[in-house]
Symmetry: D2
Subunit: 341 residues, 4 copies
């Protein structure tokens, strides 16, 4: 090793030590500052440091068997909406709208012969192919725990710096969301209030939930999928009306569901899920950060609850599998509700 | 009305009548010619001229209740694959590959402030958003009945000329596919032959299916979802290997399933479903046209059957809802298998 | 040949003859009917039946040399707008909005290592990659002659049935548009009227053009690129304002440009190009069908003319090459104006 | 203010000061460490700390006028390739391939009536609309200076942390690239060597460039656009052949062009631009980081040079405007070469 290299090495060692110290201070103070300023941090999983699915851990062979042993399979309710160009979608931040297009048509195939099989076969075989693109939060979908975090981290302390690449998160991605089979409960707030639809910007309270459950004569249990009906689905085909100043859940209502009742997933029939403006000064989506990042509770949005409401079905098996989009922050799902006997 | 207009009107009337006659002749002779030349036409639905879902009509309250009354909910099998950049997909005809990208990241949001909430909130709230695009035949999916037709028509005689717009079909689109709850049967052809995976280009025969069912000690019933295991899923993460010269079902095997056994849906664990080259001279995808267009049988592709195979689960409740993509020729699905007692 | 085959053959021959007759009648009467009803048909090219570029044939070595021999290269005007999420775009028919996204970021590359080069290299080399998607009529662009046709045909009689596949037209696609080097003339209608911007829905008249040219002291010549300034570009960054009830060219003004003055291309600084409602009962975009389909005149839209207007530059070399998107109905272009001496 | 708040405030002040010190140390040492470890850093612009365009600053009224005063406008060479599904594109890192699709067809519009104008108008007006998506480095394009950086920074020290959002860079984006009008020089290395095409993986040397220029009898000048012809364009329509083990420029050749000759832009007729494996141990794309990040030299790729080569046109006006994609790391361009007299 030459002198220049040696000096370099010593400089490097000192620099490394200094850097380590400073990084440590920054880390500590980051936590301190944040704690002082916010007192809000992401949740630490009771299921251990490797946990990526939060309260979905509540699904067990026993919980599944329990609910499935009670179902009456003669009816099955479809809890999802249709996807179409112009459908409601979240636009405030510039996300892409739902698109669908043809990649093959019977007539186009005759002109193009993309498979080099000749005109005769292309006339005989009528080929249709299509493609889609969408924001992951389009149509009936589930938010993965990484969708919103706090201070650069998500549920269970995974940090963007370490875990977020250019194709999504290498932890807690939508592919980690297990099949969901659980007791589902509809909380029909709109119906309990004698309304078709909650008013613009209405914020559902803890008391609203309690009253609706009372009226329905059904209680929540640990591990439930709780689905709040605002009634907004009535205007689903009119995207502008659907998205404008939507009703949503309030913080106290969310806390009631999770901390008092122990539910596993919270869902609603609209897209915002929250009401605006936010109840918290420093957070523009406090329900999302509370549920996803602090409590490990996935969120279902755009759940179609109209038929359940009409038939007064409040308790059911909720069965669904969201698309396993590796690394994704959300995924479409078409859930099924099968009433209990 | 002036003379010129009157003449025009009379000319128009004659022309209209002549056009009507000729269109009628063309229609008739089109059918005749095709019948002579091909003797293959799309099927006419026994469920009537408005039917858009073919054999999915076999799902009834009774059929659902029957299978659901027999399940053992302690286990549930996930029948779907993961979506990721580079995953196997159909490329021969230039279709788009699966893509996923970030639309919001915690750090990018701090730089962009897309919601105009200010730096402090953007640092505190860590926002992740993503978008996807894909050919509809990507990952575990179901082919709608319009995916392949014959002579310009699809199942039940709906014609492209009348029903195919620029955003898909206004009949038989994926949004018409009901929730699927039915008896499912795994036909593990690979295992029955003592193989990990059927050989390249192997074409499954009627006899193969009979032997596998025999060995498994399970028979098919009308309305079943029959899932053929080739074993190809073992190389799913290697797209080139997965797609190269795949094994597939033969025509006689397909006829056995539908015409002898009355199954409702046929599925497999690969993407081609068919083996190549085609068994029919005039049709490059005869299994698709036979099942979809002639028999009204939807096809499931890329079904994940490895766990069922490993645990020797041959009979189960098949439960799944495909995305309701309006007008689409196929849709992703994440089906669930729950074994029977 | 067996008897059955012989009968089949004879039947086929008769059917073929009958079909041919009827197809012929339909063809004839289609023309007749249309002529009676519409009296509007696509243009037949004076440059022969193979012509795909219409009046762009007016570009010759001599025409190019003429205008280029007169330029003063000290200044060059940029005639294009910027592309960004939320930019003005044509939405009435559900077309996709402009999107741009990251496929590689310096930090994401460190997490993902997509090229398998290891962490050290990924930290050292900071990789940025991006992708875009857009309707072809986004930003400054040129409409190819196939963008609008009449009665199933486009300029020079090419029919959709024969020439339109699933990836566009196999004639007249954007890849056939030659490099455009021609005399350009700004017709600053807004300025001639002493306005910042023509009023909502204002329809530019023949007289407006004549007066503006008079005021500018410049006349049109055969083969010119005529660019109409409405002033609407002033609100380009506000997409809603830009798109709402735009001013546009009237039919008489278009006829003046093409039939009286012989221009080669007509352009404007807005996206609609036309004013609404249409002047023709049976055509919702009569300027487009007139220019593209009947006259073989490409249209330029969203041309940035503010700087030319400010500097009162009315005559210039127009130089530009649109992207050679094979089969496309339009293509982005970033044209340059170089004033003449 | 309460006592608790006061304590919090003091703690915050101390923490802030400590954080500032540490951040400063980290910043300083980051530079030091990097310098020691790599001795490769991004370039500092001689045009000042706000400079975003590097050597494109060499375009001046005088430089433009100089080259344009010498052109012979009778011929104009098209330097761009066509875009089509299946075209060569960079796939190693999972980027999206070029896609083009129909959003409107004459026949689909009749079925869909997307503009609610009624069947009659839709039959009369034949509407074609299309959309595209692509990686920004598709077809003939220019790399912006942010495409590759070093150690988290790009040209002139702009850092990803501060300037890279989710829709690209807020400095040096493609929208900042000015109209390019400059002297262009073809360096036909393939022809100089008597080859149709340089061999697989061939790395062009400084000597190769000198010999080609000698043979051509043309020298480089400061501010030139230097275009290297490898001949690979001959297999452009065969994407696999085009992309496989391409020839490229060597580091010494690049240094010769920039440091000895002072060129402004370097381009080539292939997509890799570089030859692989890399000449530098710590950098997998050293030509890109050298030119873009260290020297502020934009790169042109997939430039179509075949016609210039055939006609032995070595000196010309290079005229082109790349699409102004806000924030982008590259943009398509269709450049024009007009020979000098």
């Amino acid at each position: 090793m030459q002198t220049r290299d040696l000096v370099n090495q010593q400089t490097r060692d000192f620099v490394s030590a200094l850097r380590f110290f400073c990084a440590f201070v920054l880390l500590l103070t980051a936590t301190t500052t944040a704690a002082l300023a916010e007192e809000r941090e992401v949740g630490v999983s009771p299921w251990g440091p490797a946990d990526e699915i939060g309260r979905l851990n509540l699904i067990t062979p026993k919980s599944r068997a329990n609910i499935l042993s009670r179902i009456d399979g003669r009816t099955a309710y479809d809890l999802s909406v249709e996807y179409f160009i112009g459908m409601p979608s979240w636009q405030a931040a510039g996300d892409p709208r739902y698109q669908i297009w043809m990649t093959h048509t019977p007539q186009g195939t005759v002109v193009d012969d993309p498979l080099h099989v000749g005109k005769k076969k292309n006339i005989h075989v009528s080929y249709t192919g299509m493609a889609v693109s969408m924001y992951t939060h389009t149509g009936t979908h589930i938010d993965a725990l990484n969708h919103f975090g706090l201070n650069g981290k998500i549920w269970n302390g995974f940090s963007a710096l370490k875990h977020l690449g250019d194709r999504g998160w290498n932890v807690t991605g939508a592919e980690t969301i297990p099949l969901i089979i659980a007791r589902g409960v509809l909380i029909d707030v709109a119906a309990a209030k004698g309304l078709d639809m909650l008013g613009d910007g209405y914020r559902v309270t803890r008391q609203d939930l309690i009253e609706a459950l009372d009226k329905q004569g059904v209680d929540l249990q640990e591990g439930d999928v709780a689905l709040i009906r605002t009634g907004r689905m009535k205007v689903y085909e009119d995207a502008a009306a659907f998205m404008a100043n939507p009703p949503g859940l309030g913080m106290a209502a969310a806390r009631f569901l999770v901390e008092e009742k122990g539910v596993m997933i919270v869902g609603a029939d609209n897209l915002s899920f929250e009401a605006f403006p936010s109840e918290l000064e420093d957070d523009y989506v406090p329900l999302h950060t509370y549920l996803l990042a602090q409590q490990g509770v996935p969120i279902l949005e755009l759940v179609y609850l109209e038929d359940l409401s009409k038939d007064a079905i409040y308790e059911f098996a909720f069965i669904g599998g969201s698309l396993k989009l590796r690394g994704a922050d959300a995924a479409p799902i078409r859930p099924i509700a099968i009433p209990v006997r």
